[in-house]
């Protein structure tokens, strides 16, 4: 069985960290941080004068304050920075009130809009965050300020957790699910169940009928894309349109979503899972500068 660095099973996504090779934090005037404690993953982002310096992306454990600390420690690992070198930190996500070292907690909706504005540029107007256990549709202006939002955290259809259930069922690594679902000659009908639990039973039945894994995944990915499109209809989609969160890395869902909406997606070379923490770090910097100005 394939395992990642920390020994987790093959269906789980891989934890990661990154440090900018070009930035020297010692030269920075304001070091700001953002920690996004989500239901499935926790990210810590450190920015130096508004430039992305380092981040970590880990699984959230059962203890939110500890998850926040672990993510922050991992992000700062080998950078020479410590928590004392960070001037301001903003916590966001489900566990935002549980970030012990945060100056302020800000809703993840505002942070995702701000983060996407940084990642994809100021032309982004609609954002779809497909997270671990919820799905958010956001409209924002050129400064990344939220104009409208809608969150669905009651139903697991369209979430990363739903995709994990399928990766587990088929024994396919979550990172490979998207590409694999595109390896079909003909698009199969989407699974009819909107509920992840019943969609999984339906998929098990399809496997018994002799469907190959690729076809079952294609069927699920298109069902997920369709499900999210109906959610987006409520607030509409404006160009440019960007997807953040873990599912943004799943080409199988992203491609089908873009096709169904008949829209081109904004591109980024950054990790789409850090959008919330990135926005939080940007807010932290703004808050610190405001505080300094007012003395």
């Amino acid at each position: 069985m394939a395992q990642d660095e920390k020994g987790a099973g093959y269906w789980r996504w891989t934890e990661s960290r990154w440090t900018s090779p070009d930035l020297n934090p010692k030269n920075g005037e304001v070091n700001s941080a953002g920690v996004d404690v989500g239901s499935v993953s926790t990210q810590a982002v450190v920015m130096v004068d508004g430039e992305l310096y380092c981040y970590s992306n880990m699984r959230t454990g059962s203890d939110s304050p500890r998850s926040a600390e672990n993510a922050m420690n991992w992000a700062l690992e080998d950078t020479g920075l410590t928590l004392d070198d960070i001037h301001a930190t903003v916590g966001t996500g489900y566990g935002r009130v549980n970030v012990p070292f945060a100056t302020k907690a800000i809703t993840e909706i505002a942070c995702h809009a701000r983060g996407a504005n940084f990642m994809y540029g100021p032309t982004v107007r609609s954002i779809l965050d497909m997270g671990g256990q919820d799905c958010k549709a956001i409209h924002c202006d050129e400064r990344g300020k939220v104009k409208a939002f809608l969150m669905n955290d009651k139903c697991a259809a369209g979430t990363g957790r739903g995709m994990e259930v399928f990766a587990d069922l088929l024994g396919v690594h979550i990172n490979e699910v998207g590409e694999m679902s595109l390896q079909v000659d003909e698009e199969p009908p989407p699974v009819s169940s909107t509920c992840v639990v019943f969609a999984k039973s339906e998929a098990a039945a399809l496997l018994r009928e002799g469907w190959p894994k690729e076809r079952v995944l294609a069927s699920y990915c298109s069902a997920m894309a369709h499900r999210v499109v109906t959610l987006l209809e409520r607030i509409g989609v404006e160009e440019e349109f960007a997807i953040t969160g873990g599912i943004a890395k799943n080409a199988g869902v992203v491609k089908r979503l873009a096709e169904e909406l008949n829209i081109e997606l904004a591109k980024t070379d950054m990790d789409t899972q850090i959008a919330g923490a990135l926005g939080a770090a940007l807010f932290a910097r703004a808050l610190y500068e405001k505080k300094m100005k007012s003395g």
Partner: protein, 97 residues
């Protein structure tokens, strides 16, 4: 800012839509809601805002269809006659169902 609180599930769309630009933070809707669904909160999307805004309480957001049921058509209400909608002078509240 248009805030949609609620959810969509197999049985339909259930959202309370609040226009935070129109909301003046008077709190009249909080007073009249028989299910205690609404609350006044700090505007988390506009740090410059001087007045609080209305939001749906987190514990009601995932069961709003049931929380709001006593004021729905079966009980003789149209959307315009809902206590919260009627009480809101600046017309900042709407229901999707």
């Amino acid at each position: 800012m248009q805030a949609n609180y609620g959810y969509k599930d197999g049985s339909g769309d259930f959202f309370i839509v609040i226009d935070t630009e129109r909301c003046n933070g008077c709190g009249d809707c909080v007073e009249v809601c028989p299910a205690d669904v609404l609350e006044l909160v700090e505007d988390e999307f506009d740090f410059e805002a001087e007045t609080p805004v209305i939001a749906v309480k987190a514990e009601h957001a995932k069961k709003i269809k049931y929380s709001c049921a006593p004021c729905k058509p079966a009980a003789g209400y149209t959307t315009a006659e809902l206590p919260c909608v009627k009480a809101c002078e600046p017309c900042a509240i709407d229901h999707s169902w």
